[in-house]
């Protein structure tokens, strides 16, 4: 099984870098994007096994990114992280098919668990 590629999208540079740092420390391969559009333009979009994205971003929000990717036919799992842990947003995210919805600040272990769940689901689905 090839090592899964994780795409991190956050418009806050330090959160972006920290998430990247966390993933890499656990042996994941991650690539970071400052905005949803950046990811959509990325050539690695096809190889993305999981998307970790902020919800509130200035141009395109995390939910819109999810919708866009589904529209384009990508079914990579989504994990949302947000500093506005609004219940309404959380509900719509999970409804839209997100694997996880983490409120900033979150424990690293929580993200890793969430990520592993997502990857297994993705991988397991692939195995059906």
């Amino acid at each position: 099984m090839p090592t899964p590629l994780i795409s991190v999208v956050d418009d806050d540079a330090s959160v972006r870098a920290a998430t990247d740092n966390l993933l890499k420390s656990r042996g994941y391969i991650a690539q970071i994007f400052a905005s949803a559009e950046e990811l959509l333009r990325s050539p690695q979009l096809d190889e993305t096994s999981c998307v970790i994205t902020d919800v509130q971003m200035s141009a395109m929000s995390g939910l819109e990114l999810l919708a866009e990717m589904r529209t384009r036919g990508y079914d990579a799992p989504f994990i949302f992280i947000t500093a506005f842990p609004d219940d309404r947003v959380r509900a719509s995210a999970l409804r839209a098919g997100a694997i996880g919805f983490l409120a900033k600040p979150f424990a690293g272990q929580a993200l890793i668990e969430c990520l592993d769940t997502a990857l297994n689901a993705y991988d397991g689905r692939g195995g059906i």
């Binding site: 330090s14 959160v15 920290a18 420390s25 500093a83 506005f84 600040p105 979150f106």
Partner: protein, 891 residues
């Protein structure tokens, strides 16, 4: 000696008369029948008598005739020559002998007497001759145009000729018998004595010497004396001295010597050597100066043209040779100039000129002069250069120089610049009338009068101004400075002067005068302002003591009297209360910086406290030395009182502001939480990551270290957000500090970022760098800006058809104040609401209190600024405020 012919004549006449006498005696004897002997005797007497006539032959002939007659007539036989009577024979013989002897004796006697007579005649003639010669010699002695002296051994004058005596101014008799030494100069007498002695030693030998003689009147004449000693009859030696007056010759000689010396001197001084050269014989003569010029030794080198050629500069040699050759060929005068190249490498310029003359022997000889004109040539070059410089200088300074002949009424000299000033073509001849025609008609009479006066009073220096009318119609102003030059006749002969073009200076002076006029007017205007203002003007010296106060202040009773010489902090009453203000003020003064609006408390003439606002500016002399301050002060007591009231109001406003602020804070809470959660999320992630890096089989320590460093950064970021929030929430006194408006904006942006993001608003900033600092309360200003930003964000909520963009601009406004503008592209403010939008309780929002902008306005105005809404074309609104600068606010 008598001639033979006359002796013959005399003999003939003797014989003829004797024969006649004999015939007469014969007849007489016949008549008386005289005796033979008696007749013979008579005959004898006749013969002897006639022999006295001289000729012996005639006497002898007469004797023969007498014998014949005797024999013929008286001896028997008569009438025959025969003598018969023997007695008669002895008579005849006796007669014959007696007559012959007698005739002979008489002849001899006559001869001797004749000889004696001849001797006597001779003697007589010789004596006369001698006398004649003596007379002649005496005349020569007397009248010879030479002086003669005859002196004896002792030098006593034996004789002197008249000329000699006269020459010396004596009568002859006075000199004779005196010592000849008397007529010589005292100092020459030994010499004369010696000369006379030498003559006497060698008699007959002529000696010559030159000496001076003294006349009776004391004047002196030079004589050349020729002297010779002679022995006279008595063997006494005398000295005969002939003196020739050589005074003239001597003078001529001296003159000649002097003249030669002068010539040599003149040659040396004028560097002119003379030379002569005979081309036929090749003989040449060079004067000493010629040798000196050619740097040749007269002892070793024979002069000649060859020498000239050798010494000539190689470049000039050909031409010199040609000149000499032509002179020899044509035997004509020549003149040329050439250079010498001397052994020391120096170069001399020589001007040589020669004239062909004929010598006594008819040969042509060149006589000439060679002058060293090096100095002149150099001077000429120098002069030419000087002239060029002068011309250039004159051209640059527009100054022409001239010299005017007051008699000939013409220029003696006129520099090119003069012509240029008058606008003349340099080639064009310029007459007095042309010059005058160019002078402005109004100025001509004055100019002529000034010159006339100058000539009349022989003025050393005089000046005048006039205008030149140029051919193109322009006018040139000339300032002329001149002086008169007095000629050898003591009268003014020339005017020498300069014409300076002062057109520009005039124009500049006019401009200056205009400026000065304007300045004077302006000064008067300001003086009027100052004197009518309620403000007063003051001046302090370099030690900051008051040196001047405008007069009306004490008159109006505004200020206490006797302030002169005091320091400002001596006049103020609040120095102890506000030490910091005064420390700063004194620092400003020491730094010689201007200050504005210093407010302090003092007392007026009646002792009541007054508040004074003063501004000042340092002033310096031309060299930059600090001289003190000048400034203006105002009594702001009334304003201060009003301000104090306003302070109260402001406090109330601050309270209100705080209320609003906290309200806003509530609105911002979500945003703020987000701002804190972000760094916290990063911190936790990095901390987990750090654990991850360390927990690996091969722990990655550098990655772990980076993780911890990021943790620290984010923790700082989080604490900064908290600080801002706390500051915003703080309720406290207004704290006016110097601020950079851009920093305030950045703080605000940090607080509203999430708000912008959640409303999908893009923020654009145009912050001008290097703005001056303003004085203000950081939190209040943040409050104002947050308010404006939040309003903008809300105004764009309804916008869906375009990018929601909020623009924050900081800049300097027209008067240099710092200005901040917040522009949205939202719904905008309705025209009707525009005027009221800043009023309290006016709101367009359904949930709004209508206090936000009103409080913002209060805050901005409390900062000395103004909040305004700017109408803009297109959608949206711009709110902006301007604040005075820090310095303006402090002072």
């Amino acid at each position: 000696m008598r001639s033979p012919i006359s002796s013959l004549e005399r003999s003939a006449s003797q014989f003829t008369i004797g024969s006649i006498a004999l015939a007469v005696v014969t007849l007489a004897c016949l008549y008386v029948h005289a005796h033979f002997a008696a007749t013979a005797f008579a005959y004898l007497l006749v013969v002897l008598l006639f022999s006295l006539m001289g000729s012996f032959i005639a006497s002898s002939a007469l004797c023969i005739v007498a014998i014949a007659a005797l024999a013929y007539y008286f001896a028997p036989p008569a009438f025959s020559l025969r003598i018969d009577d023997p007695q008669d024979l002895p008579v005849v013989v006796a007669f014959f002998i007696a007559s012959i002897v007698g005739a002979h004796l008489i002849g001899k006697l006559r001869q001797e007497r004749e000889a004696a007579r001849v001797v006597a005649a001779k003697l007589q003639r010789s004596a006369a001759d001698l006398e004649d010669r003596e007379k002649r010699w005496r005349a020569i002695f007397e009248h010879n145009p030479a002086m003669y002296f005859m002196v004896d051994e002792a030098g006593i004058v034996l004789n002197v000729n008249t000329l000699g005596a006269t020459q010396l101014g004596y009568p002859r008799t006075e000199l004779i018998g005196r010592s000849v030494l008397d007529v010589f100069l005292e100092e020459d007498r030994a010499f004369v004595r010696e000369c006379v002695r030498t003559c006497l030693e060698d008699v007959g030998q002529t000696r010559t010497w030159d000496v001076q003689k003294v006349r009776k009147d004391g004047s002196v004449l030079w004589v050349r004396e020729n002297a010779k000693a002679m022995l006279w009859g008595d063997q006494q030696p005398i000295v005969l001295i002939a003196c020739e007056d050589i005074t003239e010759r001597r003078r001529t000689e001296l003159a000649l010597q002097r003249s030669e010396a002068h010539l040599a001197q003149a040659q040396e001084l004028s560097h002119t050597g003379s030379f002569s050269w005979n081309p036929t014989t090749g003989e040449a003569f060079w004067s000493r100066e010629t040798f000196r010029i050619f740097q040749l030794d007269p002892e070793t080198v024979p002069p000649g043209p060859q020498l000239v050629v050798e010494r000539t500069h190689p470049d000039d040699r050909a031409s010199v040779k040609e000149i000499i050759d032509r002179a020899m060929r044509d035997l004509s005068d020549f003149e040329h100039e050439y250079r010498l190249l001397l052994p020391d490498g120096s170069v001399k310029h020589i001007h040589a000129q020669a004239r062909a003359t004929r010598t006594a022997s008819g040969e042509v000889e060149f006589v000439g002069a060679a002058t060293d004109v090096t100095a002149a040539r150099r001077a000429e070059q120098q002069l030419r250069r000087s002239e060029a410089y002068l011309a250039e200088a004159q051209h640059l300074t527009h100054t022409g120089s001239w010299s005017w002949d007051v008699h000939a009424l013409d220029f003696i000299y006129r520099s090119a610049e003069v012509d240029r000033l008058f606008g003349f073509d340099p080639q064009e001849p310029v007459s007095i009338d042309t010059i005058r025609s160019r002078i402005h008609p109004e100025d001509l009479p004055l100019l002529q009068e000034v010159q006339r006066q100058a000539i009349e009073h022989e003025e050393e220096r005089f000046e005048y101004d006039f205008r030149i009318l140029l051919p193109d119609g322009g006018i040139r102003r000339i300032h002329s400075v001149a002086h008169v030059a007095v000629g050898s006749d003591g009268n003014v002969s020339e005017l020498i002067g300069t014409h300076m073009d002062v057109t520009e200076q005039h124009a500049a002076r006019d401009r200056l005068e205009n400026t000065l006029g304007a300045l004077r007017e302006s000064e008067q205007r300001f003086r009027d302002y100052a004197e009518t203002a309620s403000d007063w003007l003051w001046e302090t010296g370099p030690d900051h003591q008051v040196t001047h106060l405008s007069e009306h202040t004490s008159a109006a009773g505004i200020l206490a009297t006797g302030l002169m010489g005091l320091l400002r902090w001596d006049i103020a009453c609040d120095v102890d209360e506000e030490p910091e203000k005064w420390r700063q003020h004194r620092a400003t003064l020491e730094a010689h910086l201007p200050f504005r609006d210093l407010v302090y408390r003092t007392v007026n003439r009646t002792g009541s406290p007054i508040y004074v606002r003063t501004s000042g500016k340092p002033f310096f002399d031309g060299k930059g030395n600090f001289l003190g301050y000048r400034g203006v002060s105002t009594d702001i007591t009334a304003t201060i009182r009003a301000d104090q009231a306003e302070q109260e109001l402001r406090k109330a406003q601050a309270e209100l502001a705080h209320v609003t602020r906290v309200t806003t804070l509530g609105e911002l809470t979500t945003s703020i939480a987000h701002e804190i959660n972000q760094p916290l999320a990063a911190i936790i992630s990095n901390a987990d990551a750090c654990l991850g890096w360390m927990g690996r089989e091969a722990p990655n320590l550098p990655a772990a270290r980076s993780s911890v460093e990021w943790i620290i950064e984010d923790a700082i970021r989080a604490s900064e957000v908290i600080r801002r929030v706390r500051a915003l929430a703080k309720k406290g006194e207004i704290e006016m500090v110097p601020l950079d408006i851009n920093e305030v904006v950045k703080d605000v942006i940090a607080l509203v970022t999430r708000e912008l993001a959640s409303h999908r608003v893009t923020l654009r900033t145009e912050l001008t760098a290097g703005l001056p600092t303003i004085l203000g309360d950081r939190i209040q200003l943040q409050q104002v800006i947050i308010n404006l930003v939040m309003n903008g964000i809300e105004a764009m909520d309804a916008v869906t058809d375009r990018t929601r963009e909020l623009l924050i601009q900081s800049s300097k406004d027209d008067v240099g104040h710092v200005q901040l503008a917040v522009t949205d592209c939202g719904v905008g403010i309705a025209e009707n609401d525009a005027d009221r939008v800043l009023d309290p309780f006016f709101t367009t929002k359904s949930t709004g209190l209508g206090m936000g902008l009103s409080i913002c306005r209060s805050i901005v105005e409390a900062h000395g600024g103004r909040l305004s809404m700017v109408h803009k074309n297109g959608p949206g609104a711009t709110f902006q405020f301007a604040l005075p600068l820090h310095k303006e606010a402090v002072s």
